[in-house]
Subunit: 136 residues, 4 copies
């Protein structure tokens, strides 16, 4: 896996608490410990947190994979179905790049709770473009 | 607009900084001031923040609207297309309930930057269900 | 697999040419032979044909699976990403019910061409409801 | 509105019965007369027909709009929520290009029945690319 020269620290993921487990596009993974400040009004993990995790891992794993070719990655669209509320423990998102094209990568992702139960399903399109002003 | 007895404070929205402007299902609105800690690695507002804003306002406005009938609202799916990156200023999301059914509400939402430029388009399905144990 | 009393013939699938291969929610499958009258202006299989196949198999397999409990199935939303154009041969869609809830089923589907290459990815939500006027 | 030199006849739209009403990206429109052979098993207009109409008008209106710049259009993803079943009369889809970028157009579309009731909401991403081998 190529290592970018510049760091890939993501401030919003620091706020959310995303733990980066794996950047391999075949089984990229992040995990999150559920905290009260990540919840919506009735005590469930906010869906926006799950969308954030999916977007973070799909974007990051694409970015790392295409970086050595002088390309950058940017989210184009995300679709998430919420299947089961999460209230405690951890959430883990595993994502797989199903299409790795010249201009777009398409990912499928699933979120599971601490008991391995499916909590959400996502699909994300990430656009790949030359990094402006960089020799590639 | 019916006012729930219990508060609708949303911890994750407090973290993100969501400002609640309007809960009317015809033109529900939230606003956010862009901060550095809401960004992804290359300095853009994280897409997950925009997804969060869309989900928050659609869920909240549905919840308030159906509360007096003894119903609760829960996000079922969200779809967001990102059109233009946001780096500074504010983001405002305006959402409209296009379908207000007995069991589902369907919303369209758009996010604009400080210059009124379209930054993202969302569509969200919110499920409406009886609140367990509550007379309705 | 329960067999409905009434036939499940689908007129639009007859027009399109859907071949029903498998109704098992773990690996439901349909196939289609690409014909010129299924194409869009520049000679590619029309994306609407692929959306139709995904919707048909997810709805049908849900309907068959819940029929004996006196329930009917209806498509609520569909999301499809098109990855590779199809111009000839066959298309096969395989779908898997990732969530089989009391009120909704959520499916993932993939379409492949004759050479097993991924042509499209779909996600579909199917609503499950009591059949009006039927004892269950 | 630029008129392509080559015809834009779409075989699958001929099968479906798409009537082209307007190609203006601000209010592109198609209409369809509901026929029995466009239905699914329980007598409703097949959702795939609605997805087809949305995809057809968004793709076509993009293609016409970018043709003079030597560009071609291709559907990348479609998202449709079905709000109300259609059983008879006509369906009309109106679509609006909300984003007209250098590489992608993003559309919102709504389908209405003969009584002007909302039947479905769509969002579609259309990719715009140079036409291979054509001077532009």
């Amino acid at each position: 896996m190529p290592i970018p020269d510049e760091p890939l620290s993501s401030p919003f993921d620091d706020v959310v608490g995303t733990e980066w487990l794996d950047d391999d596009p075949d089984h990229a993974r992040v995990r999150l410990r559920v905290r009260d400040d990540l919840k919506q009004p009735v005590g469930l993990l906010h869906g926006g947190v799950i969308s954030t995790l999916i977007e973070s891992i799909c974007s990051r794993a694409t970015a790392i994979a295409v970086y050595e070719q002088g390309l950058a990655a940017m989210g184009q669209s995300i679709h998430v179905s919420f299947l089961r509320p999460v209230t405690e423990g951890t959430v883990e998102v595993e994502a797989r790049a199903r299409h790795r094209g010249r201009t777009t990568w398409v990912w499928e992702a699933e979120a599971r709770d601490s008991k391995e139960r499916l909590a959400a399903l996502g699909q994300m399109i990430v656009v790949v473009r030359p990094i402006p002003g960089r020799d590639s």
